[in-house]
Amino acid sequence: MTMKKKGWKDITEGNIIDKPATALEYKTGTWKAFRPIWIKENCIQCKFCWLYCPDMAIKMKGDKMTGFDYEYCKGCGICAKICPAKKKAIEMKKETEFEK
């Protein structure tokens, strides 16, 4: 998140976002206090996590869920909550565990 911030003369009037998909430029990964961990062997590839993720942090290859994009994942835990796999396929871990 080292985007250089623009001055008032260089931004659109009235905070209008004049093109689509600008959320791509806004990386929200640093927000998270919990990090989802994918347990691949338990995953049933239902794609519920992809459907429910409020950001675009579920990585897909074709129609296969392949993990998380931590640059965008805010750590909300919705994916872990919604995951219907019998054996947990997403585990939320404290971000501090990864700081070492």
Partner: protein, 394 residues
């Protein structure tokens, strides 16, 4: 160019409704409130009779009226509403959003006292309360000015350097319900004067998707506010330009302020709205009895024309400011505070304040004579013992 007058006997509200018919906004969203009611009633007559093809949205409150206007303006169409007093108060939240989103909405405000106690008559506490909302404020002395200001407001609001909403103020009942001769211009000429609206954004343009009103936190909110201030700074130039163009098209040129016997005046009365009409006569009489009085009428309160005020007041011996609203526990009334701020460090003139006409209290000729006489005395003695005065209160 010869310009033929085409006078009609109209109330201020009818004149403004007529201006709206000629402007033919794409969308009008409104809710009735005294003394604005007869304005929108007249306009909705025009819509019902097919005289104008405006999409008229009848909403359940003023909060909804301004919300609908914001939505319409964001979709890139010419948008208007009108309100008064408590209606404006109920709009409050969205009034700010309209300005901050840079949506050029035009709104006549038929000035009326705010409750409580409940009162339907004129004072300026409604618009003065909204003075920091980011709207441009034009003020009218009579029905003709209300009509003319409404037409000009469209052009000012839509100026590419401005893009801010405009309030057109007219005194409740005094102007809105009083009948006067109003010179109504040719429909086609009004249409060509305001020109075609070229919106900056269009929420419904699927080929160029935009987002309006997103979250704006610590990192950019401040920059957008600075930008908004810039729009307001450009507004004075636009108002000036449009006033001159209006003169060229219709024979009535408008300035940011109007002086009456101002140039050689020793002392000056400052105010806005319909009372300035009465004051013309009072000043004429004062002149006959040897008092060199003049007035400075502000047609524009936002953006506040500080340089112009300074220029006109420099060298004067005393100033009286008429405020038709109180600003409880401030230095004095809102106009007084602006005038004295503008003079600060530039001219050391005694300035006295009169709060007058609250809740529609009639401001009589004799009351204004008193203001003129007292200000004359101050100009002679150079002393002003009592800054805050309540004119005509028992």
């Amino acid at each position: 160019m010869s310009i033929m007058a085409n006078y009609h006997a109209l109330t201020g509200n009818e004149a403004v409704a007529y201006a709206m018919k000629q402007i033919a906004p794409d969308v009008v969203a409104a809710y009735p409130i005294t003394p604005q009611t007869s304005l929108m009633q007249k306009f909705s007559d025009f819509v019902a009779d097919g005289d104008v093809d405006t999409e008229m949205i009848l909403v359940e409150s003023e909060h909804s009226a301004m919300s609908a206007c914001v939505g319409a303006a964001a979709s890139g169409v010419r948008t208007m509403t009108a309100t008064a007093a408590n209606g404006l108060a109920l709009m409050w939240e969205i009034v700010y959003i309209a300005a901050s989103s840079r949506l050029p909405i035009v709104m006549p405000v038929v000035n009326r006292a705010l409750s409580a106690p409940i009162n339907i008559h004129c004072d300026h506490s409604d618009a003065m309360g909204a003075r920091d909302s980011g709207w441009i404020q034009l003020w009218s002395e009579n029905a003709q000015e209300a009509y003319d200001n409404t037409i000009q407001a469209v052009k000012i609001a839509e100026d590419p350097d401005v893009r801010l909403p405009v309030m057109v103020n007219l005194d409740g009942f005094v102007i809105s319900h009083g009948m006067e001769n109003v010179d109504i211009y040719d429909d086609k000429k009004v249409k060509s004067f305001i020109g075609e609206y070229k919106p900056l954004v269009n929420l419904l343009d699927l080929k160029h998707p935009v987002t309006i009103g997103p979250l704006d936190l610590q990192d950019y909110y401040f920059e957008h506010k600075r930008q908004q201030a810039e729009g307001m700074m450009h507004a004075q130039k636009a108002i000036d330009k449009v006033g001159k163009e209006f003169g060229a098209s219709f024979g009535r040129e408008y300035d940011i302020v109007e002086g009456y016997k101002l140039e050689d005046a020793d002392f000056v009365i400052i105010g806005l709205g319909s009372t300035m009409g009465t004051l013309r006569m009072v000043i004429d009489e004062a002149r006959k009895s040897g008092m060199k009085a003049g007035f400075l009428k502000l047609r524009v309160f936002r953006p506040f024309p500080k340089e112009i005020v300074r220029k006109h007041l420099k060298g004067k011996k005393a100033v009286a400011v008429l405020d038709r609203s109180d600003s409880f526990n401030a230095v004095s009334g809102p106009l007084y505070s602006e005038i004295t701020s503008a003079l600060y460090g530039v001219a050391d003139i005694p300035v006295v304040n009169y709060i007058y006409g609250l809740g529609g209290r009639d401001t009589s000729v004799s009351m204004l004579h008193r203001v003129v006489k007292d200000t004359y005395d101050i100009s002679k003695s150079g002393k002003c013992d009592n800054i805050l005065n309540y004119l005509g209160v028992r």
